[in-house]
């Protein structure tokens, strides 16, 4: 399975909400139904970003087709120094129904966050120390395009 990663600058370059907006724009086009879905969880996602859970444990997007996307956030001096990679993705990973998104969360918050997001079946909330699993191998990409594969990311747990 291929993996693509991006690193989005967060606080102090952007607020936590500003960071989530950039992530949403990275994953969805303005007219995508998925954008509305992601905007609906802005409060919760931004709060998790403010805790910097997403610095070391990525937001993981599992599209219906195509490579898995890992989105990290960059904080502090690393963000100020531009230590990110916000290049547009080769495709819109949430364009087709059937996608899932996994948010990392600290153990102290996880019960509250899962309760807050239980009405969004496309969102998983996982302990920051855990990886994620998929029920089946994602099918091959349906569209041709330039997909950059970061093999270092594939080595991560």
């Amino acid at each position: 399975m291929s993996v693509v990663s991006r690193r989005v600058a967060s606080v102090p370059v952007r607020t936590s909400v500003g960071t989530w907006k950039v992530i949403v724009a990275l994953l969805t086009a303005a007219d995508h139904e998925a954008r509305t879905s992601l905007e609906a969880i802005t409060n919760t996602a931004a709060m998790l970003i403010s805790e910097e859970y997403t610095r070391d444990a990525p937001i993981v997007v599992v599209p219906a087709a195509g490579p898995r996307i890992r989105v990290y956030t960059v904080h502090g001096m690393a963000a100020v120094d531009g230590d990110g990679d916000e290049a547009p993705l080769a495709t819109w990973p949430l364009a087709e129904p059937g996608w899932r998104l996994s948010l990392p969360c600290g153990i102290d918050d996880i019960d509250d966050i899962r309760a807050a997001l239980q009405r969004y079946p496309f969102i998983d909330v996982r302990d920051t120390t855990e990886g994620i699993t998929v029920d089946a191998v994602a099918p091959a990409p349906r569209t041709a395009g330039s997909v950059s594969i970061n093999y270092d990311e594939m080595e991560r747990p």
Binding site: V11, P12, V13, R14, T15, S16, V17, T42, N43, T44, A46, M47, S50, E51, G76, M77, V80, D108, D109, D112, I113, A115, A116
Partner: protein, 172 residues
């Protein structure tokens, strides 16, 4: 433990202090035994207001009022945490971006926890002429008569900004 980085940009400082004041308020709420669902459900509005008013220098404080909904109005305050903004904390306008969660934990431990039935609200104390931010409305503070204010020091710093933390306990 204090995490810090060093930059010299007002915009970075205001963003750092704004988001980390909310992050610290969340820490206070959790460590005080209250549900974080209230702050979670208002996060975007809270952050937008605090960031805007810090940037415009109208924000003088961010207050967490904790109240008991089972008590009569006017006598329902059970505690309060205040972040007070100092726009001249670093006189040279420079400085680290830092957050000291241990100061937060110390204040909560000294204050003690609240019964789970208690609720809370946030009040931004602003100077006249502040810009309007969607989602915020005008209100007044609950009376702190019979409470004692305790100051624990600066918990968040950035650029020329400092955010000092204090809390109120009932004294009579």
């Amino acid at each position: 433990m204090t995490a810090s980085v060093r930059v010299n940009t007002h915009a970075y400082a205001t963003t750092h202090v704004a988001t980390n004041m909310l992050r610290s308020m969340k820490q206070i709420i959790r460590e005080s035994g209250l549900s974080i669902s209230g702050i979670q459900s208002q996060w975007a509005v809270l952050e937008a207001g605090v960031a805007a008013w810090l940037n415009s220098r109208h924000l003088t404080g961010l207050v967490l009022e904790v109240y008991d909904p089972g008590k009569a109005s006017g006598a329902d305050l059970v505690g309060r945490f205040d972040f007070t903004i100092d726009y001249g904390y670093y006189s040279d306008g420079d400085g680290d971006l830092w957050l000291d969660p241990d100061t937060i934990t110390y204040a909560v431990r000294k204050n003690g926890s609240y019964p789970a039935r208690c609720e809370y609200r946030f009040i931004a104390d602003t100077a006249a002429g502040h810009p309007t931010v969607d989602g915020w409305s005008t209100t007044t503070f609950r009376s702190t008569a019979g409470f004692t204010r305790h100051t624990v020091g600066t918990a968040i710093g950035g650029g020329s900004l400092g955010a000092g933390l204090s809390y109120y306990t009932r004294s009579s």
